[in-house]
Every structure is written in C-alpha cells, then in structure tokens.
Amino acid sequence: MPHIQLPPELPGISAAMAFRKETAKPLRELAHVLLHESNSLTSGERELIATYVSFLNGCQFCQASHGAAAACHLGSSEIVRQVKASPGTAPISPKLKSLLVIAAQVQRGGKNVTAEDVATAGTVGATDLEIHDTVLIAAAFCMYNRYVDGLATIQPEADEAYTEMGRHLAQHGYIQSSQNQR
C-alpha cells in the first residue's frame, strides 16, 4: 500500500505524478528531453541506460516500463534482458558499453566516475554531450527510482503488464501520461 493517499487506479510514478502536478511537469519534461527528443544516442540506447540503472537500484516499475520502451525501440526484449544480466557481453556497441560503465559508477555515487572511464568512452566515439547525457540519465533514474519506491507505489510484478506502457512511451514520449490514453 502506498505511504500516502495516491490515486488507486494508477501504477508507479503515474500515481505520484497525478498526486502532485506541479512537480510532474518538470519531471516529465526532463525525461522527455533525456530519453525521447532527437539525440546522437538513439532512444533505444538511452532507454537501455535508464533500464540498467533502474535494475541496479532494484526498482521494478522503472526497469520494467523503460525496459518495455527500450524493447519497442530496439524490436527485441532479448537485448534488454542481456544488458541487465551482463552489459559487457550484450550485443551492443563498444560505445554504449562504455557509457553503461559510467552509468553504473554514477548509480553508486558521482565520485566513482574516473577520468579513465571517460577517456575510454571517448576512444570509442562518445562525445561530450553523450557523456553528459549518460551521467544525467543515470543520476535522474537515481531520483525517479527513489521517488517510485520511496512512496511505495503500486508496481505490477509481471513484465508483461508493462508492454503497452512501453509502446506508448516509445511512440509518444513523456510529456503526456501513458495512463490517459487507455
């Protein structure tokens, strides 16, 4: 049961955002810029970073919903599973692998990111903007995950429950609620 009185019909962050529309607006806009707007990193790549950090933080709602969005962008839920299980051996580019290393360091705390981590990402083609966005996506999901779990929101356990949500996020992004379209 959620710690505060949230709309009972809404899962995860959707309930918290419906409860407090003033904070929902910048939270949605931030996710939209980071994950959906055009970028030299594809939406699939950025959703994988979000999914991986949410997985490291143990947040079911965020890893399942962003995993579903990543799968929709990439046309494969198998890649999502492999990235979570073992990013170093998953069938993704060396650049994305090096960005996932940085994301994992940020998840444990910002000071863990080393000059070597950043240099490695640079040698496999990551730009300053891509490194910036990776750090901020990882940091932002350390917020979203804590927000979703810290209020004890309702989170369906089955990954299948998130397929439709993931499709909506992949197609429309984050400005509108994925729950209004039902």
Binding site: H3, I4, Q5, A16, F19, R20, E22, T23, K25, P26, L27, E29, L30, V33, L34, E37, N57, G58, C59, I102, Q105, V106, G109, G110, K111, V113, A115, V118, D128, L129, I131, H132, D133, V135, L136, A138, A139, A140, C142, M143, Y144, N145, R146, Y147, V148, D149, G150, L151, A152
Partner: protein, 189 residues
Amino acid sequence: MPHIEFPIGLQGIRGPLSFRPETAKPLNELADVLLHAPNSLTAGERELIATYVSHLNDCYFCQTVHGAIAAVHLNGDEDLVKHVKADFAHADISSKLKALLVIAGKVQRGGKNVTEDDVATARSEGATDIEIHDTVLIAAAFCMFNRYVDGLATWQPQDEDLYRERAKKTARDGYALTSRDYIPQPKEA
C-alpha cells in the same frame, strides 16, 4: 578537472546546466517547485532537507550552496545548519522536521528503506501527505543533483564566502530566474 568541457569560471552545477540548457530548464523548474514556491513547509525547512541529503551524499558544492541558502532563510543561523548536518535529532528544529529528515535519510540510501512506521511517525507530528511527498521527492532529487555535480567532476571551490554571497540572490529570486545569469537564453519565437 571536469570530465567534459564547460564554460570557464562556472562552479558546480552551473557548468553542466550552462552546457545543456534543454535539461537545465526542467531541472531549475523542479528545484523552484520543491524548494522555492510557496509550501506549508518553509523554504528554510526544505533547504535543510536538501542540505542534509547532499551532506549524506558527500557533495561539497550542493551541501555548501543549499546550506548557505537555508541559512539565509533561517535569519543567518549557520550554526543551526551545521547542527542539522551533524546531528539533526538534537538540533533546534521541530519534531515534524526531524521526522521528515528521518524519511529523507532513508530515501538517500534507497527508496525501499522508507517504512510505514517512518511515515506514521511523521504524520503523528503533523506532517501532511503533500509534505511527506515533497520530502521524498526533495531527497530523491538531491540524489540526482549530487550525482550530476560529482559525476561530471565539476569545479567546486572550497570557499564558503563565495557560496554565502550567491545564496542571497538565489534565496530571494529562486533557481530559474537566477539561472539567467549563466545559461544562454533561447531566442523567443
């Protein structure tokens, strides 16, 4: 040295905010709603929550600048800010704020650490649902801001006077308005 190239002379979060105005806009808006907009929790109380979480995350820039802003709101009482960071349970703050700081400390370690008992205690001290919500989100947001500032190895000069000076303006004008001093403004259509 910062991990990526920022405009020279910008400290802490101002480097990355100026580097990427598209993400700076919602980040500053979020900080304004949580810390600066009218609320049943005072701006001083909310800045103390932000300062305490930034202290737990060991982010020098964030704990120093938000500590200085908190002190401005608290009639210049820098000792109170120090006391809250070191041992809030014995600081001269309300029982409600102490209960909210317990929740914030749990969120800092991970959202699942917040218990029903923590929330019930806060409620018995008079905390409303929106105050509990905002405490969780302030704590969560500073787990982001702190990682953003440290994860890019931003320049964080160890000079408290510099933060004191800046805090006066931010405490008065808020975050988005102050950001016009250092973020390139998009041209209006």
